[in-house]
Each structure stands twice: as C-alpha cells, then as structure tokens.
C-alpha cells in the first residue's frame, strides 16, 4: 500500500502543474505541454488508485484506458502544434491575441 500511495501526491502535483500551465502560460506550445503534463498526472492517479492484481500486474482495464488516453492526447497535441505552426507562419506570433494583451498589461 505504501508503495502505491506515493504516486497519489505525485499525480495530484502533476495535475496542479499542468493546470497552472494551461491557465497561466501564454505561449501556445507551453499550454500544450502543460496539457500533456496534466494528462500524465491524471493517468498516474488512475493507475495508482487501482489495486494491483495478485501477481503485481496492474489493472488491465486501467492500462487500456491509459493507452487510449495517450493516443487521444497525441492526436490533440499534434493538431494543436500544427495549428500553432501555421498561425506562427501567417502572423509571426507564438501566443494568442488575448494572452498577448494580458502579458502587456502586466
């Protein structure tokens, strides 16, 4: 039990890091990176909250859900990165207009 429980605070902290990044970072790429960090934290919680089987093998359902989640996250990340690259090519910007305005105000 104590071997597993260390991943609960770790996962929660990763969720916090990712949440902060998604809310506060102004660069699009950094927001996408934060999205991935937050997702990793959630997956970590998912597996850490499942009791392992008798032979130390993790819950196969949880494993399958995480693999599905990783693939979906990569699809979203790839779409975001491509949109950001094209946006940068067209406008020369790496941040969205609202975030730029907010950074200037501060």
């Amino acid at each position: 039990m104590s071997g597993v429980s260390i991943w609960l605070p770790t996962g929660s902290a990763l969720v916090l890091f990712g949440l902060l990044g998604m809310l506060l970072a102004s660069s699009i790429l950094r927001k996408l990176l934060a999205f991935n960090v937050m997702g990793s934290g959630i997956f970590l919680l998912l597996l850490a909250l499942r009791p392992p089987g008798p032979d130390g093998v993790a819950d196969p359902v949880a494993q399958a859900l995480i693999i599905t989640g990783i693939v979906i996250a990569i699809a979203a990340t790839a779409l975001g990165v491509r949109l950001a690259r094209r946006y940068h090519q067209l406008s020369g910007q790496t941040e969205l207009p609202e975030d730029r305005a907010a950074t200037r105000d501060d």
Binding site: I28, F35, L46, R50, A62, A76, L79, L83, Y87
Partner: protein, 506 residues
Amino acid sequence: MTEAMTEAMTEAMTEALLLPLLVLWPLVVGLGVYALPERASAALQVLGTLVLAGLIATVFATMLASPEPLRAALGGWAAPLGIELVADRLAQAMLLLTLLVYAAVLLYAQAYFAHGSEAAQRFWPLAWMLWAGLNAGYLSADLFNLYVALELVGLAAVGLTALTGQSTALAAALRYLLAALLASNLFLLAVVLLYAATGSLALDSIGAHLAAVGTTPWYAKLALALVLVSLALKTALAPLHFWLPAAHGNAVTPVSALLSALVLKVSLLIFLRLWLEFAPALDLAALGLLLALLGLLASVWGSVLALTQRKIKMLIAYSSVAQVGYLFLPFAWLLPGGLGAALALEATVLHLLAHALAKAAMFLAAGVLVLSAGRDDLVSLRGAVAREPLAFAALTLAGVSLIGLPPSLGFAAKWQMMQAALLADQWPWLLWLLGGTLLTAAYVFRVLRLAFLPTPEAFEARAPLPQRLSLCALALALLAALGGFGAAALSDWLAAETLLWPGSGA
C-alpha cells in the same frame, strides 16, 4: 416458416447492429468521402443521409412497440465489462434533431462551397466524423466512452473551425482547442475518481453504487463538480463562454450552424444524463440554483453583448451565449421529489430543440445575406427583404422562436419553464424570463429593422445566389417557428418513458 425465420433473423440483426450502425455508418461515409475521388462524394453523402434516416426511423419504430429503451452491448460483452449503447427517448430526440439539421446543412454546403474548393474537401469528411461523434455521445452509457466521444466531437469541431486556414480562423480554433482540452482533462479526472471509487465505468452501475453506499462519499460531489465545470466549458455557459464567439463567428457558415446547433448540445445532453444519474445520491439543490443563476447571468450578458456587435455572425454567436443560459435554468427544479421536475426536464429538451433549429436557421440565413452583400457587417442586412426574401423570412421566423413568441417551439419551451417555476413556487424567475425575452427581442429587431432599409447600390451588381441556400434555412426556421404545435405531443412522447427517478413527478 421461412418468413418467420427471416423475421427472426432480421430482428436479431437489428438487435446486434442497429444502434452501433448509428455511429459506424457516418464513420464509413466520412471515410468514403475522404478516401474516394471527389465525384463519388455527392452520391455517397445522399445515400449516407438516406441510410441514416432509415436507421433512425427503425429505432423509432422499434421503440413504438415497447416503452423500454433500446440497448446494445458492443462485442456481446455486457456492461461492467463491455460498453453498452442505450437509445432512450432523450437520445432519440437528439438523433432526429441531428438528422434534420445535418440534412439542411449538407444540402446548403453543397451549394455554398465552390466546386472543387479545398475547404470543401476537408469539410465533408470532418462533418461526417462529427456526426458519428455526436451520435456516439447521445447513445453511450459508459463514462470513459463518453470521454472518447467528446474528444471526437471536440477535435472535429476544432478542425471545422480552422477550415479556411486563415489567421483569424486559426487563432479562434486554437483558443477553442485549448479550452476543449482543459475541459476534457477535467472530465477525465472525474472519470478517474468515479472509476476508483466504484470500480465501474457504466453509468447506471456507478449511479446505483453511489446511491447504495447510503452516505455518499464527498468525493463523488467533487467528481460531479469537475464534470460540471468541464461540460459548462464545452457548452459555453458564462463565464466560461470566452472561446465561443470567435469560433462560431469566424467559421464558415455551414460550420457555424453545426457548432451552435449540435456541438453545444451534446455536452449539455451528457451533463443532463449525469445529473439524472447522480441526483438521487447527492443533494443537488444548491448546485441547481447556482446553475440557474449562472444561466441568468449568461442570458443577460450574452444579449447585451449581442446588442453591441457590428458583424452579423458575431451577433448570432453572442446570442448563443445568451440562449445557453436558458438551458441551465430548469436545473433549479430538476431535483428528485421536487415539484416541477418533469416539467423542467421537458422544458430543457424543448428549449434545446428550439435553439438548435432556430440558431442553425439563423446562421444559414445570415450566410446567404453575407454572400449576397459581399461583406459581413450589419450593413449586409440592408435591403434584405427585397434582395433575398426567403432568407429574410428564415431570419424572421428563427427570430420569432428565439424570442419565444407563439406558436414557436421557443415559446413552448419558455411556457414549460414558467409552469415549472410556478409549480415550484418560485415566481421571481418569471421576471427574468420576461426580461430576457425583451432583450432577445431587442437584438432580433435590431437585425430585422435593417432589412427594410433600401439596398445600397454596391450590392446590386452581384450575381444571384442559388435558391437552395435560402430554402435550407427556411426549412429549419419553419420547424422552429411552427414547432410549438407539436410541443404537447413531444412532451407526452418524452413522458411515456421514465426518464426521471421513480417517485418524483409533476
């Protein structure tokens, strides 16, 4: 004997394939439109729509025979192990709505996109994949599967927003994507908490488990709060609406119609389902009141902003922010044992249908006027009565439903809301409903007034547009404006199945 056998066979096939086909068939058409040469595309899509209409008709026919919802266990694995699809009357209403809106939008888009345009080549596959995602969201009874369906809807919607590839569209799509991804992660977090606490992903067994625990653990509330924030973000409930106007206002017209009519609604429907599932286990009265107050804020704030817009599509987009607010009002009464719960549920569904039809019609009609004027600000409306009378008629009829004048579907929805409020003895809400109606009327008349002004000369030289564009808008607008006549029947039909909890009623 052979006849009986064939019938049994057909029945078994129906059982096995009907509901899955509602999701798989649009995917097949989407794949075909994507991978096959362009000349096959139109025929394939007509065929695809007809087949889907047939499937949905079969679902309705089967449902008429029995009051129980249709169920299908995918792969033959029953629920806690496998994933089940459930077509209750809520899902069926959504399936039908989606079919109607899609039929109009696809016909419209055929005429809207120039032949061989690159944007169109991306529009068709994405629109069909989006349809698959929407149907998957209506039918799924599995929490994680709902997450996957929401992602399919979300990414397809973002791709459609970015369709033109111009800088403003890309910025709007990125903003939309980042908001949707945050919402997805919050939803996923809720899935994780519920799965850990109950050991199951199937909606009904999670609900049953939470209700059976007796004193429901407090983290179930946290999970519901996460779901709430996530889906409020996806449904653009103020103050989480920041991504909507740019995305809906800058997308090409057929996309704006799909996004506002359907994409906003699927997340609301999922929220409604989870609400109904969790309400017996948790005390949701305070949360319902909070939602209704946020809805109040949204409806005022969105209307005020709509009044200040210069571009016609942005005005309609802000109107969505306001109308979404009304969708959340009935949650104040949607409580087990609460008076008016049944009315509140009907009001939500009616308003959802009314807004979907009216808003799609409005965007389609506005698209016609923008095309015919060659500019996208409110000036493009001048002389609309003379230039595009059919589009103007569609805009007016949709406006009638949006304001909530009889005999529109919008009126029926607001009437139900008032009844629910009176039944629950909470008459102050009536003031809001009346005030909101006035605000809506203000921005609708702001649009309609311009249409009677003389056409600026600059517009005259433009080539006439195909009638089909206006007709598609008009068809949806007529459904919205005259739907009030069918509202009673619709309510009865919904009430024939126990969607609410046993023991709670009017």
